[in-house]
Symmetry: none
Subunit: 425 residues, 2 copies
Amino acid sequence: MAVSAEILCIGTELLLGQIVNTNARFLAQELAALGIPHHYQSVVGDNPERIHHALDVAMARSGLILTTGGLGPTADDLTHPTIAEHFGVPLVRHPEQLTRIEARFRARQRPMSATNARQADLPAGAEVLPNPTGTAPGILWQARPQVLILTFPGVPAEMRAMWQQTAVPFLRSKGWGQEVFISRTLRHWGISESLLAEKAAAYLAQDNPTVAPYAGDGEVKLRITARAATPEAARALIAPVEAGLRALAGDDCYGADDETLASVCGKLLVSTGTTLSVAESCTGGLVGAAITAVPGASRYFAGGVLAYDNALKTQLLAVEEEILIAHGAVSEPAVRQMAEGVRRLTSSDWGLALTGISGPEGGTEQKPVGLVYLALAGPQGTRVQELRLGAERGREAIRLVSSQSALDLLRREIIAQRASGMLKG
Amino acid sequence: MAVSAEILCIGTELLLGQIVNTNARFLAQELAALGIPHHYQSVVGDNPERIHHALDVAMARSGLILTTGGLGPTADDLTHPTIAEHFGVPLVRHPEQLTRIEARFRARQRPMSATNARQADLPAGAEVLPNPTGTAPGILWQARPQVLILTFPGVPAEMRAMWQQTAVPFLRSKGWGQEVFISRTLRHWGISESLLAEKAAAYLAQDNPTVAPYAGDGEVKLRITARAATPEAARALIAPVEAGLRALAGDDCYGADDETLASVCGKLLVSTGTTLSVAESCTGGLVGAAITAVPGASRYFAGGVLAYDNALKTQLLAVEEEILIAHGAVSEPAVRQMAEGVRRLTSSDWGLALTGISGPEGGTEQKPVGLVYLALAGPQGTRVQELRLGAERGREAIRLVSSQSALDLLRREIIAQRASGMLKG
């Protein structure tokens, strides 16, 4: 059996159950993707004697130890001092790291405390594992002929950046992860997990690549995972399966991997040379936030109106008082005028509007919590859609699913108009 | 030291990173609430030899072992057979459990496979830990004078029901969990973790309650954890420490536990009877989304303008062309006019505006990525703030920290005006 890896997460907050251990999950997925065998995970608190014990246990059974947590500036951040002590070496201050940390504080015009300097102290003999997004560096250290140790901070974003930018290339250079597992995730909107699983039954049964369904908050994913000697060979195994799955899902499949409904809409807007504005009521900015999360959104997103108060609906979007009185703000005619109003106001090609009842208060028998109206005003007129999401989903999910459904409405309309030749691109 | 508990999660899906280990988090929270010391967590796959090894390691350091997973009907569910083997006892079939399992299948009119009967086979000498919601029972077993073992299925809902209905009363009857641990988390904005840790040094050094700092995305938390015989006694220990920490943090402490900057601003707006509108550029709706995530936001939030395109800044917010030409859209004068413009447009008491460069593109030497201007227009005039967040944080964090900083600007201004008597409430 190849020498295997082990994950050691250090942090009392994990033992108290204050946070879920997403770092272990991320590293486990990555080790699997690299084909590095991984048989054990452990969690200990910020306690030197138990960290020593956990290191003893791990060294006795694993050749690669990945630690997360305990690299912060405070007195209960003990990972590097304890590792140094464990292997009987002193801590050595790395001036270039100290300079980096000082520079970060200067850049933020924040006072730097003496304790921050501790983050530049690493076990003698260990290489620096640079932290591009935070103050705490980790280490890459062949502490013993049979023991390679990598340390990461507990902050997930910093840990992930360090893993991807430095740790993975380093491990490959040391001969780890020669067999690769490559995954590709197809993303779907507007189809249920069970229905998609039925359509894809033949694929779900096969082995390499494997296909597994996941669902949550309105989205359904199919993860294709292939095992091969090289990334290219793995991708070659994935390609025909992806093509087959896309064919049977049709427009319900909106993208893959890191693509979002917002990024896909962005591509469609760019390719068709059209622009978008939004009028949001119940979502209060979620749609705009999703659209502008995509770099370069300014090429196609004008902005819009957060018409939370009805006064803004009438004043800025020219929704008629009579409509609000006769049908209410959560109604088909109101959302239609909101979409057309914001399109006109911003002189954009598309106006996307939402109004609904997110709860927990404000629902009635006729208009229950979870009732949401979407409208898309465009060159060919206005399309309106009613959603009934159910109160039991809760406010957060109702707002999230509504905003994603609005983007999906835009996506399908652009695709349809492009297919029918009404839109170029 | 009291004899301590240890969590052993069994399941290859955890090692592959296919699921997050929420069971460990749940049990950790429960052990903390019961005051049962808990120093280690481990994860192993569905592999007998490694389960044996993990049991050896756990028995050597812990008196109470809680396992999750591996109780299913399939061949890779090995927890009970391996535990029986580990302690040298046979598996014994429990007829009443078999009857229960058969009944469940009949009730669902589903065929029962022969392998399901395996779930009724438990180590000789172990008591049954009934599973009210699933087929797989667990065990309660004093396997050795010093080792008490409880096993649970991996299905979270089943594990939780079994824990609450049977395991907790059982453990209390055995003298475990006579103490309770209660935690309270103070939330801070506008102060660094290291600086706050220095101020709070005396508290961080004390024992019961303990105080521990955590930081991420601009927020710094102090977690106060007290151990006592009753929840009331624990809260009584926390109260003076919380008071002391709040006193030294001052307005940098914005709330506790589930409070958010948006919910705290909501309370302040309600208590002062004032209303808010927003003009967002770089954040594209994040501030509005955060505000409207709080139920009842319609009482104080009018809405606002997503002024992503400069045309909307001039057209709706009356930002002067000359200002945009002379200073650019990301400038103090521009953000000032945005805040005053949206306040006027919506006739609200407060107008909150943001404009900045979230990157990755669009930065210059004078105006680097991460440069953000905030403005708050109010009854007493307009306050402007400059943030330099640094490009390396990435677009998402820059947008998030900007939106939270804007809410913090509003929070501090309302508190200050209320203190000076300029605002009632």
